[in-house]
Symmetry: C2
Subunit: 185 residues, 2 copies
Amino acid sequence: MLKSALNFSHELLDEIVVEGDFVVDATMGRGNDTLKLARLVGESGRVLAFDVQVKAFEQTKFRLEEAKVLERVCLKLEGHENVGKYLEKNIRAAIFNLGYLPGSDKSVITRAQTTIRAVKSLMEHLCSGGRIILVVYHGHSGGSVEKNALLEFMDEISPEKFQVLQYQFVNQENSPPFLLAIEKK
Amino acid sequence: MLKSALNFSHELLDEIVVEGDFVVDATMGRGNDTLKLARLVGESGRVLAFDVQVKAFEQTKFRLEEAKVLERVCLKLEGHENVGKYLEKNIRAAIFNLGYLPGSDKSVITRAQTTIRAVKSLMEHLCSGGRIILVVYHGHSGGSVEKNALLEFMDEISPEKFQVLQYQFVNQENSPPFLLAIEKK
């Protein structure tokens, strides 16, 4: 089966993240990607992870403790638009799952302005060959506004410095998520 | 590095085509994909390959002979819109490289009407899990007409029976090729 945008995002991480890397999970959510990244970077690597919701923070912390990898992760209960202040060295990868936290308040959603601010900060601190990956859920109220602003932003990224890939299913109903990947040359 | 549309097309073939399969190269061109498919299907498999240009036909035949795989391939010096009459059993995969033959007459190009006719025939004979992959070069004269017609066609494919993936770089100059993949459920 052709990979879903979510599965393809994991493949794009697996291809580049190695032991000792510094990476960012911009949207903890249920902690899936935070845990995945913590395993990929190993004991000597570091993950910086963000979420504005206590529920996401607590659930992610619990899962990392359970997997005995919490010490590799720095969890921030704040918006990812503040990521710049924590980036002392370059990152190999960052991942976003945009939209709302499944099973939670659907009015708490990621928004174009803060998402793009975070992406810009991450682009300034990306290793050569590093990737910023966004899985864009946009079927909810407010989702298409963020989607359109993001696509406009991607279109204007310098082709000299970055490649930008879009991976999407085009004939499906119910607005399936699509993927954007920014890779530094 | 993120895979180019061309490299990704090869990955999508590698994932599904196995020894003994029946597959189609709808555009021989320089024979790259015909040769690749002949190797993937092995001695017991069959490749059916099309091109309207003698130069493409001859070059592909020469490469297959050289690689000692010609007997697995049925080469047709005719348009891929006729593929239906040769499809007695279901195919695992088909590939198109749309545009013109590199290093040849740029006025001889693939066109939406015949491309779509071929795709429709192939869709009727696709195995479950089988894929029709199109690498769409569209920077040449006439390329955008074919591109737009194809995207419209893809958009209307039944989501119950098929998934349609689009894989494209969004911030590059010079109209880089993009990929479309139709997978039967």
